[in-house]
Subunit: 269 residues, 2 copies
DNA sequence: GCCGTTGATACCTTCTCGGCATGGATCTCG
DNA sequence: CGAGATCCATGCCGAGAAGGTATCAACGGC
């Protein structure tokens, strides 16, 4: 049982390049070393992670799983080192994750005023796994849009985000002030993208180019507003809830204070 | 940035014992090695983690933080390995770990008959950490000899293994049919070996060469029986318990079925 | 003040990691 | 269809890290 962080890094590199030689180059080691290290992981885990021919490198199910796990672990280690340094310097630090479109500046400002000694930072939450940075420790608090995996988290609903239909500005429906889901029947709808590599920009690009219409949270539509796109409320679509989230076992003073200040800020507005 | 999982484990051990020597003993390494590894972590993180005098070992704030972080990371790694194995076993597969000398063939045969589609396999459990393969996911069920770390495990006692004294065949005590612990007073006893590289074969070799006598479970003595060794029951030595063990949170169908079949097999014999 | 305990240091051994050379399989192209 | 290019695997070697033994130095208890 000797799973090494170095080996995990190697594995991640190979997966991302789908190519031993190039991965080795990026890692500043030679290809044979990489081959042997990957094989070592496979032996330690006693399972095949990569199907490799001289022509292509493909992930097995176990490999796919390990790739995910490795990313999380490496991120967690990096965050941990950061926090150890913070603890050593006596500086206290709070990182807030936020789903695209949600505004955290007010709360952060209020918090910073109350705790001038605490360093604050924000990181974007990836929409396909909004809770990831909370779980791997890169952030302590999240302003997240539901749904996400809430197991092990303490969540405080803070608002509703109505869904709007986002379409090309020239679309016939854009002449209406508001829509119902019935109006969208027969329109080509863009689903939630499956691949996590696809960004929201990509999605709006598709919409603008006339590939279809998408239902998105209003706050997202607003942040990405552009002249060639229109968004109109869909009155009968269920709104998307947004909430504050923290790890359930992370109840230190700093985090509790932030939650309090954040909810107070909300009430004031 | 060369934070190693091994070093994290070392650090956790030192923190939990608040004592380098005892931690080293638990880790099956020597104390100087541990001292150096801890210092290496401190250099890599560029901060002091432990205040140590010859009399006490105390945590600094950074050390306290790293202790928390390390626990989380190690747990995360273990869980990750577990999930990779699960992903790999899309094909259904059950691996049974067994302490040396315990017989699992009957149960496996019965299980294989009932589940012809499930691949079965056995792996030996290393005596110094019989539960390791359960925890790291290489096995799902164990036939293990106590004692071992049962935290997080569900265990079902399945029998007693009386202790026998194992000695050279020519030893005076070998002329007796059974012994008591009083008979062993004054004999040189071979302790449980410290180094985890030492095998049972090695131990029996030592006994045969006249280095001493050892108390071992009867089933072990039987599996390793050889003409130049004799083993005699020690009537008043507490018997060693054997049990079935599974991870407490591993209650899937396959595992439950195996436990049922295994206990039924035991009752029949 | 002496002795036992405990962590640190010095020195040696062993094993893993990384590099280089090369083999063997597969795809491409003439 | 065969020659060449590409790319991962294997064998062997050197350097460095990890582990062991012996010993020192500091601190506490009596």
């Amino acid at each position: 049982m000797d799973l090494d962080l170095r080996k995990l890094r190697y594995f991640v590199a190979v997966v991302e390049h789908r190519h031993f030689g190039r991965a080795a180059e990026q890692l500043y080691i030679t290809q044979p070393v990489l081959s042997r290290q990957i094989r070592a992981i496979e032996q330690e885990l006693d399972c095949t992670l990569l199907e490799r021919t001289t022509r292509r490198v493909e992930l097995t199910p176990a490999g796919k799983q390990l790739y995910q796990e490795a990313q999380g672990i490496l991120a967690a280690v990096a965050a941990a080192v950061q926090r150890v340094h913070d603890a050593d310097r006596g500086t206290r630090r709070l990182v807030v994750a936020f789903s695209p479109g949600l505004h955290v500046a007010d709360a952060i400002r209020a918090f910073a005023q109350r705790h001038p000694d605490v360093e604050t930072d924000v990181v974007p939450a990836r929409w396909w796994e909004p809770d990831a940075s909370l779980r791997d420790g890169r952030s302590q608090v999240g302003y997240l849009r539901r749904p996400f995996d809430e197991s092990g988290l303490h969540t405080i609903p803070i608002g509703q985000d109505p869904r709007v239909a986002c379409m090309p500005a020239a679309h016939p429906l854009a002449r209406r002030d508001e829509l119902t889901s019935a109006d969208l029947d027969g329109e080509r709808m863009l689903d939630v993208p499956r691949r996590r590599t696809s960004s929201l920009e990509e999605k709006f690009e598709l919409i603008a180019s006339g590939q279809g219409i998408a239902l998105v949270p209003r706050s997202v539509a607003r942040s990405y507003s552009r002249p060639d796109l229109a968004h109109r409320p869909v009155t009968d679509a269920p709104a998307i809830e947004t909430c504050l989230a923290v790890l359930a076992d992370r109840r230190e003073r700093l985090v509790r204070d932030f939650l309090e200040i954040a909810t107070a800020t909300l009430r004031r507005t």
